[in-house]
Symmetry: C2
Subunit: 212 residues, 2 copies
């Protein structure tokens, strides 16, 4: 772990009002963050621990990224902001959430951010520590949080969220990583038509086999 000493706190801005900070310091913090997230998972890593590992003050992390969430996204080089997407998804009825979730996701994958998303998923599939930090972030910070804004009971949200992730991950993997035809070349609307009802059942339908 590289220890970096910061000569001047970048919060002390010069006259231009724009001072992005020492790029080496930022990178050292991002490296430390990636290491801590990989070691302790999203929930276990702390801003204080990351700052200590990078040899800087915790305030500097807040200054640069504002939140652990934003620091995480920067550390894993995520090309999209899932928290922002989750906020957009939280507008609308729960009865339609499966369709909106999948449409929005496919939009991201078909956008210029697609290749970077693919790289991120590939590294999570190939490396246990990346898998650990991403799964925890995506499941608890994005999907389960989203379900809770729709008042899905706490004791159901974790399983429902994991089931949603299983089908979403399956579509992403089959369509973009492994390239299973005809799924890989189907227009997004057709994928949504086929798969959204699955997500909707996982969100608010019966997932216990009890019927209903």
């Amino acid at each position: 772990m590289t220890t970096v000493r910061v000569g001047q706190h970048p919060a002390v801005r010069g006259r231009t009002g724009r001072r992005p900070g020492n790029p080496d310091t930022r990178q050292a913090i991002l490296d430390a963050a990636a290491g801590e997230f990989a070691r302790s998972g999203y929930g276990g890593a702390t801003m204080r621990g990351i700052a200590a590992a990078a040899g800087v003050d915790t305030a500097l992390l807040h200054h640069y990224w504002g939140s652990k969430n934003a620091l995480f996204m920067a550390a894993v080089q995520a090309p999209i902001d899932p928290a922002d997407i989750a906020r957009r998804l939280a507008q609308g009825e729960i009865s339609d959430l499966g369709r909106r979730l999948l449409s929005t996701l496919l939009e991201q994958w078909e956008s210029p951010a697609g290749p970077a998303l693919l790289a991120l998923v590939r590294s999570a599939l190939g490396d246990a520590s990346t898998a650990r930090m991403l799964r925890e972030f995506v499941v608890s910070q994005v999907v389960v949080k989203l379900l809770r804004t729709y008042r899905v009971p706490d004791d159901e949200a974790a399983l429902r969220g994991a089931l949603v992730v299983s089908q979403v991950l399956g579509v992403i993997t089959a369509r973009y990583v492994v390239g299973v035809e005809p799924l890989a070349s189907l227009p997004p609307e057709a994928v949504v038509a086929a798969v959204a009802p699955t997500l909707q059942r996982y969100i608010d339908g019966d997932v216990t086999g009890a019927g209903g």
Copy 2:
């Protein structure tokens, strides 16, 4: 590619009646097969081409493995025989196929063959040529063939098969590769209760969003 000359056709058996053949020759054929399957996919690779690449007679391949299917399974070191599993799954009603498919699959993953299956999936996720040969084999030789034994129309079988693969791959990846909780530690029966209805809809339900 190693070229191997075979001095004596192993079909000419000795008195013991058991002659597994020259292990070096077998291995050279398996290596050649893995190369050909990776290059040309399951459908594109031929017994003749593999024999030529290994520098042996095609009859030797049939002698050792009996079929391209069996040679493929040996070349990818598959710990289970999907063709055999597909045959067992073909016994029973289509209305129950989703449940039987998932139960059987989870049984295999929880069996001593599990770690080898995981290794195979990991290598398919990490390597495009392994992904190519496995996806083609699993989709067209196992899943779509199974759907056809239930007289699912040809023009629907490919999409239905790919959707089944998307959810199965998603469960496998979430449960065994990435370890998404609580899915990773749920008893198999609970996974089946939650996910089998998805597979059943992909098999014989509406997948066009037209309703029904």
